[in-house]
Amino acid sequence: MSETQSTPVVVADGLIKQFGRFAALRGVTGEFAGGKLYVILGDNGAGKTTLLRTIAGLAYVTRGKISVLGSTEIKASRAEIGYMAHPSLLYDEMSGMENLRYFSELYGIPAPDVDKRCRDAIASVKLDPDLERPVGQYSQGMRQRMSLARALLNDPKLLLLDEPFSNVDARSAAEMAMLVAQARDRGKTVFVVTHQPAQLEAYADEFIWMELGRIVDRTATLGGHQ
């Protein structure tokens, strides 16, 4: 475990997110130091995805303040964030390289570096960069790995993964878990929302337990929560 950053990477203060009669977040407060791997756990409807999307700057809170990478401006940190969700966030009709080349443009990766960066990202998730098959025809495990490659493309400081192991074969899941831990070892801060915490038990720094829109506990081990 490394503690390369002393200032907290994410600071949440009383986050409330309301949709009409329903509140997804009912007062989330906490500070999260950099360079750690956090695993967020909880039942469906606990607010895990909402919290992750709020950190990613994709969702707004009704009340409360959140600061990500030192800024409360939603758009300020986008270049430093990598986000992955259960849907692949990829275009089904294009190949892996074509997808990543497009997203490289969005991140402003200079043209001469694009090809190498994309190939490296795909290789790092143990996929073949020269595979011309469209992503829509991949297996779920391959697709999630390619999605992770996309999330890592811009070498983000903050990595946010929402259910990366869902419906994924055991080998792909283990590979991704290892990659995520390696990202943390390189100094990145990682938040993973998952229903399969066992995959990350060996690597995680902290487990965050959510219930009914609030953080109810933070433990160092999986067995620490009552």
Binding site: Q18, A23, R26, L212, G213
Partner: protein, 227 residues
């Protein structure tokens, strides 16, 4: 606040009754149309009130877009709803009036067409508010209101030019107004304005209460979770 509301309600009731009496009994009979024309005392004021409310909606939407002020959003919603009601009254009374007088149910004259287009825009505004799944419904609605406001002058000019090429009967009558009629019209306008104010105020209070209830329901589990 409570007193103010009651006072307003009483004044409105008085004004409306008197205005009704003026319109139906006191105002002189019109030369060509006979007593049918009296519907004009509802037709014209409802149009002015509707347009006024839509204008307030535009202002409130603009404020919301810039400041994200919840009160501005509620005001916008209220004015849109009540405005649509008065606009509907205007369109229907216009139709009812036209039929016995000019023999037609509808004509594409300037005022009517503009009113119809505004009605369409604001109904779509209300539909958007109802069908939105976003948590930022107020913002989307405000954007639509701005677009609507930008559209109005374009609609005006397009109909104006169209009418110069295809003249048709002008409803609501041009020409000068008998001073007694003018008085009755003004009175009815004031009465309608007060009515609109009363209804808007009621609807506003309802909206405030509704939002408070939603918020309470949403946060309810917080109490349970804290146990």
């Amino acid at each position: 606040m409570k007193h103010g509301f009651t006072v307003l309600a009483v004044i409105t009731a008085v004004l409306l009754s008197f205005a009704l009496y003026t319109a139906l009994v006191m105002a002189p009979v019109e030369q060509t149309m006979g007593n049918v024309y009296r519907i004009f005392y509802y037709h014209v004021p409802s149009a002015i009130v509707a347009f006024g409310l839509f204008f307030i909606n535009f202002g409130a939407s603009l404020v919301y877009l810039i400041r994200r002020n919840t009160k501005a959003d509620m005001l916008a919603l209220v004015c849109a709803e009540v405005g649509v009601v008065f606009c509907t009254v205007n369109l229907i009374t216009g139709s009812i009036w036209a039929r016995p007088v000019w023999g037609i149910w509808w004509t594409w004259d300037m005022r009517l067409t503009l009113t119809l287009v505004l009605w369409l825009i604001y109904v779509s505004y209300l539909v958007l508010r109802r069908f939105s799944t976003s948590s930022q419904t107020a913002l989307l609605a405000a954007v639509l209101a701005i677009f609507g406001a930008l559209d109005v002058p374009l609609v005006y000019f397009s109909i104006w030019f169209f009418r110069t090429q295809h003249p048709s009967p002008v409803m609501g009558g041009g020409g000068s107004l008998d001073p007694h009629m003018g008085y009755a019209l003004l009175l009815n306008f004031v009465a309608f304005a007060f009515l609109a104010w009363l209804v808007c105020w009621t609807r506003y209070r309802l909206e405030v209460a509704q939002r408070a209830v939603h918020e309470a329901e949403a946060m309810q589990s917080l109490m349970e979770g804290a146990r």
